[in-house]
Amino acid sequence: MLDLFGISFTTIVVFLLVMRSIGMDRVEPWFQTFKPRDGAKQSGSKIWQRGR
């Protein structure tokens, strides 16, 4: 009985969470913008890349 509960509960919750994640992933931006509190203290302070 406990086994059945463990299997059913987790299977259903996993399925619901995956469905919810798909919905959220479509509407939300993939990456947050990183804004350090004490200014740009990142390595090299600038990221060298071609124009975006």
Partner: protein, 463 residues
Amino acid sequence: MLRSLLMLVVYLSFLGVSMAVPYAATLGYVWVDIFQPQSAAYVLLNTLPVAMIMGGAAFGTYILMDRRSPPPMTLILVLQLMFAAWITLTTIYAVAGPVAWDKWNWAFKTLVFSAFVPFVIRSRVQIEALVQVYTLSLAANFIPFGAKVLLSGGGYGIGLGLQSGNSGLAEGGLLSTACLMVVPWLLHLANHTRLVPKWKVVPFAYWGLAGLAIATAVGTYERSALIGMGVLAVHSWLRAKKKMLLGVVIVCVGLGIAYKASSGYAARMSTIEDYSSEGSAYVRILIWKWTLGFVASHPAGGGFQAYVTSVIDVPQFGASPAHEEFGRAYHSSYFEVLGEQGIPGMAMFLGIAGLVLFRLRRIAREAKQDPEFAWVVSLANATEGGLAVFFSSGAFVSISFQPMLWYFVAVPVCLNAYMWHARRQAAPVVPRWRSAAAPQIDDSSPLMSWRDRRDATVRRTIP
């Protein structure tokens, strides 16, 4: 029958959804890998190569449909791929012969899939979905096990979980280590989940699951679990903001375990102190000595299952007379890697472990600078806690190629890639001298590299 149908429907749903949303197949593979529905089903799923189908869907849908925002190539990823290649090489000349390929078959898939995960799991939602699916897939095993332990007590070698036998999660050493590793993730989800609606009961549900995971670890009567619990308690206390409160909770949990645990549990744990008086513990020391001698003569390792060639002289213990023992397992993840993959393999394994722990510290320190990234700090600390459990408990169980460790390696790589993309979003764009000096070219020009053309396409499609 009904549960078989339920699992079949969910399995098919993963496959169906992945045709539109490629990362669903990767989550499906994690579910199949950890929960193993094929071993709990009575019809259809138990006859199909479910992991192979889902793995194929994960790779196929990613390659055909979704190669956006790949992670930066890091030394961890390179070492993982090198390690996968190295275990293949050592299997070719394995001293155990063709039987070594049985272990290579799943170990190789585990390593490659772990390196593949960061390519598919990129956004915050996807990272949390991965952690949730892993945690709940494991919970399918420890919910019934932990509940049975709380109701009627556990015991060494007693199968209370979903799987039977003495391999995979049916083996107490792996089950207890995996359960303790996932406790920090559960506590992280209790505070930072976004996929589960913000109901007041949600944190209590995660804490309850963490309690069942600890009960399972205790109920296996594994001595390695006691070490893992100690490491988990120390790590959690060191990383906690409310040290006094957590200290009280840890002491209460410890007292509760000491009060509830039977005399059999206490007797088994006491053998840690005097290993020479207990056969099983002392034989480990002997097999580790044998492994060191084996590596001295086979520096490149003996390939998978090399332990089958071991011969050790076991002295008399109580009623058990002195005897020779053949083919004793390593009983340690470190000696497993050392004996099977030799010094180069051990160097790669420790390199991955060291780099992952170092990277997690860097990620947590950096993410602390932005309050919006509190979840990154929390997940980095939780993953570090899980790895600390593995690297302590795992010293006494041969589980170095089990997927539990390698998913905990994949998540830091995902977090690192996430932070890399987040920094790029905020960074001022400074053209390189080469592109600044070169004339501007349009996206369709053959002079443009494939990576720039891809980035330009993504910029056009994503507002």
